[in-house]
């Protein structure tokens, strides 16, 4: 029997621009998650800074070596943690980053590749894009990280799945929009369907952690959860409410799902590679 993994979903409401307060909350919740027996705790996109940092970018940005960051990394003993903030590179590029820390060390850093800059979003004005998707070994198995908008590009989970990921970790700051429809927010309904399809197509678990709270009238819907490779939401946290929630991942499900629906096995990466090569060589707008 495979070992089940307990995942805590830290559906926090960050304070905009107050990194110290947000670090404290992350530390408290890590302790609480550890007490509840979680193996990993995941926090949302920009949980250490708030989402619409705009001109606060200069003040909230931290290099990986900053004491605020090393403090959290150091505490990743007895529990792994995924947290997100504005990372400043040595060349002074500002990225939306998520860090996976375990055993007191950084295991992986993902820098958001797709920065939404349209409609209500303005990330590209302040921030620099990341350059890739990489998998790494963690308590969650072979793991890949995506941040919010990254998941609205189908190639991101595709690349991670081909790279061997069996679990995708997805910190988000997704606003609630369109309460006109019955049931969920329009934006939430789209996320639900999207992640179900990805999980099932790529035979992966997806850990989705979305923040809550308001920033100048914009609310973030929460609704964090875990989707199994069978395309089922095995756990769903409430929308709007701040809280630490726990869910379970059963690696045995990955095995059965991949045997029963072996889409990934039959994937033709070589064909995609050649076709994309022709498109790019032929002057595709990129």
């Amino acid at each position: 029997m495979t070992q089940r993994i307990q995942v805590a979903l830290g559906q926090v409401r960050p304070v905009l621009g107050d990194v110290g307060k947000n670090v404290d909350k992350h530390l408290e919740w890590m302790e609480e998650a550890r007490r509840r027996g979680a193996d990993v705790v995941v926090f949302p996109e920009l949980g250490l800074t708030g989402y619409q940092v705009m001109d606060l970018t200069l003040e909230v940005a931290r290099p990986l070596s900053h004491p605020d960051i090393t403090r959290l990394v150091r505490e990743s003993r007895g529990i792994d943690v995924v947290f997100s903030f504005v990372e400043e590179s040595e060349a002074h590029l500002f990225h939306i980053a998520s860090v996976y820390a375990s055993g007191g060390d950084i295991r992986a850093v993902h820098r958001k590749v797709y920065l939404p800059t349209y409609g209500m979003f303005d990330e590209g004005r302040y921030l620099a894009a990341g350059s890739g998707f990489h998998t790494f070994q963690s308590r969650l198995g072979q793991t890949g990280m995506l941040i919010c908008e990254d998941a609205w590009h189908v190639s991101s989970p595709y690349l991670l799945a081909l790279g061997g990921a069996t679990c995708l970790v997805l910190p988000s700051a997704s606003p609630a929009r369109n309460v006109m429809e019955q049931g969920d927010f329009g934006s939430q309904a789209f996320w639900r369907q999207l992640l179900q399809v990805y999980a099932q197509l790529f035979g992966v678990y997806i850990v989705f952690v979305n923040r809550v709270g308001f920033e100048d009238g914009v609310s973030f819907f929460g609704g964090s959860g875990v989707v199994s490779p069978l395309g089922e939401w095995v756990y769903e946290a409430p929308s709007i409410e701040e809280g630490l929630y726990t869910a379970e991942i059963d690696p045995g499900v990955i095995r059965r799902a991949r045997y029963g629906t072996p889409m990934l096995r039959d994937e033709r990466a070589d064909l995609v590679w050649r076709a994309l090569g022709r498109l790019v060589d032929g002057g595709w707008r990129g």
Partner: protein, 283 residues
Amino acid sequence: MRPEIERRLRLNTDLAARVLTAFIREEVEKAGFQRVILGLSGGIDSALAAYLAARALGPERVQAVMMPYRTSSPASLEDARRVVDDLGLPALTVPITPAVDAYFEQMDALLGEPAPPLRRGNRMARERMATLFDLSAHFGALVLGTSNKTELLLGYGTQFGDMASALNPIGDLYKYQVRQLAAAVGVPPSILNKAPSADLWEDQTDERELGFGYDEADEVLYQLVDLRLSVEEIAARGYDERFVRLLAGRVRRNQYKRKPPIIAKLSGRTVGVDFRYLRDWGL
């Protein structure tokens, strides 16, 4: 209203009420306040704001203020009292007649002519605003706005008057949606069913003054603003082009009412231009 538009303007009222009560609670508390204050006119917009605020904070933390002028309809005051009684709100009645009449007595003499209704109405709206912001300081309560999306788009309100507030929970709801949500949160039927009126002079109704009905306007505004259709595209769907153009013109002309004052840029970093922070900075 055409069924396909009506369907899209239908609110999930439970979810909308949850978001808006969370909005009031969170924005009030993180700004370091415990209470809100709002003017109750007896109309549906301020009634809805009061019901949402009472649900968010508890009625004892919602200060209602009735500010009648001598020509205000007695039925309006009665409806406002109905909200106060139904919710159990602390309430204050502050007639604005002495202040407004004193002002125009002096100003009419200075200008040598009586002020027309528009100026008088604007002055009343600003007298009420000034009263609410004064009481805001007295009660330590944030002023709750009561302008809906239809009014904001059409500019049907007084700049720095009823359009002024600290927080507006209903500004993204069309009038058509205000009615749905008001019914869902328990606003009394006498308020739900009467003709909307700014009540700035006797027998005024919004729809008579505007020259069209709210449902009619909402149907077109939704397509202009939310669906981003052009005037021509909406006309091609069979709507009266002159009416669509009239509304589009109003939306454009009144943009100034929806923005803070513009500032002439001289420096490298200018408030309102490239000094970019949310109001919730540090909250």
